[in-house]
């Protein structure tokens, strides 16, 4: 999850006005100017890919949550049923993206699904001994696998900044 583009653009404007323009030759404005360059590349990537990334991650989380709940139900352990039911309800009531797939609605949906994933993971951990090793391993790996795929999707949006970061150390 990344800070919003609006907030980053606002910071760029403030930095240009208060730090860079008043003194173009000092180390801090030069450094900030380079950071702004890297952020501009990042924002260009986000304008192209971010909504699609969020749609994919949200669908992935929905599917993973359903699969994990289904697997946990299949072990028929009574003690976890109330919590499973509660999480199912939360999933139903969670904010959904609007028909325009606006950034705000996608991030609201994303945050709600992240919260449910975390609660589900806590339940899996807490029930380790009662659900059995096989169900524990499978559900844990499903949730971790989903987190991994989300990290890989987000990585596409920050890759240019990683390259820039490596070059920062040789600039100083």
């Amino acid at each position: 999850m990344l800070p919003s583009s609006e907030r980053l653009l606002e910071a760029i404007r403030i930095t240009l006005d208060t730090l860079i323009v008043p003194d173009l030759s000092a180390p801090q404005p030069i450094f900030s100017g380079r950071i702004i360059g890297a952020l501009a590349e990042h924002l260009a990537l986000r304008s192209k890919h971010e909504n699609k990334t969020l749609v994919d991650s949200n669908e992935d989380m929905q599917a993973t949550i359903n699969a994990v709940i289904g697997r946990l139900k299949s072990v028929q352990v009574n003690s976890i049923q109330p919590e499973l039911l509660k999480l199912e309800q939360e999933q139903i009531q969670a904010p959904k993206r609007d028909i325009y797939c606006s950034y705000e609605s996608l991030t609201d949906e994303n945050n709600a699904l992240r919260r449910i994933s975390i609660e589900l993971r806590k339940l899996v951990e807490k029930s380790k001994d009662t659900i059995g090793e096989k169900a524990y391993d499978e559900t844990r790996k499903m949730l971790t696998g989903c987190s991994h795929r989300m990290l890989e999707r987000d990585y596409v949006l920050i890759q240019t900044m990683e390259d820039f970061q490596k070059s920062l150390y040789s600039m100083n």
Partner: protein, 334 residues
Amino acid sequence: MKEKIEAYLQSKNPTAQVLKATVLAGGASGLTVLVDLKWVEKNKEEQLGMVFKIHQAAGTLSDASDQMAEFEILKALMDTDIKTPKVYWAENDKKWLGDQFYVMERLPGTTSSTAFRKDPELRKTLARQLVENMAKIHLVDIKKLAFLGIPTSSVDCAQREIAKWEELYRAHSVFPDPAFEEVVLWLKANKPTDVARISLLWGDPGPGNFMYEGNRLTGCIDWEMAHIGDPMDEIGMFLGKCETTETLMTTEEFYQYYEEYSGIKINQKSIDYYRALWNFRLAVITTIALNEFVSGNTSSVFSGYSGALFGTLEMRKAFSKIQILEEGKFYATV
């Protein structure tokens, strides 16, 4: 800033005159100001360089670092032959510069990798000196550094660090992060149990945090994450840092020099663990930056940049390391 620093210095020596004050870029825990000054000492005018490290409430690491502790560590190390800057004064009184700060000598040289990147011989010479200093740090008598908190057992070395950084994360988290929760669970379940020696750790070793002039290392700087713990933690940090900065030496060279200078045996399993812990720490630092940024406490583009970049990057690295350590069983790949 120049006038305020001059007023402070004049409280120490009424003849002090600041010639130049330069704010350094990119500091994570506060402002670093390089100061050129002159004053009369024992009837003789002298010019010297000092560094002011000023805490800032809205700094990325401000909640994770204790500048007064950093000052005390550097003060304690002045009695050793470890290359560190000499410290002069620490001030808690905010009347001078608006926040607490300490003052140290300005070491000669640079932190830039430009020179040694082009010169393999220089790189090797500096690498050896760096490892020698790291080894000496790990052999320091920790009794006089008890204010940092001393782990009570081998497992407590990692436990204390996880607890400290997890608490910071919980206090600053701005969005729910399942990846972070997964890494915390794994770190807690796999703490190293075999710690050869409990040592002072520099806390942020490696390229960018040591100064050199010519072929001589002049000082180890940036002690804000120093703590007492497992030396393998430091080695994990060092190798982790070299991933994103500069490779000073091969891992094999590092291990050879380190064992030679410290007499402490390398524990690869622990190092692999601490490399993931290093990614976890960086992700927490990012969380603090992100919180400061999205809540409007700072409009620093560096905080925005850090917040956008490092959370995902460090968690991705931690996942990849843990997947290797767990022989492909950490996350499902389909």
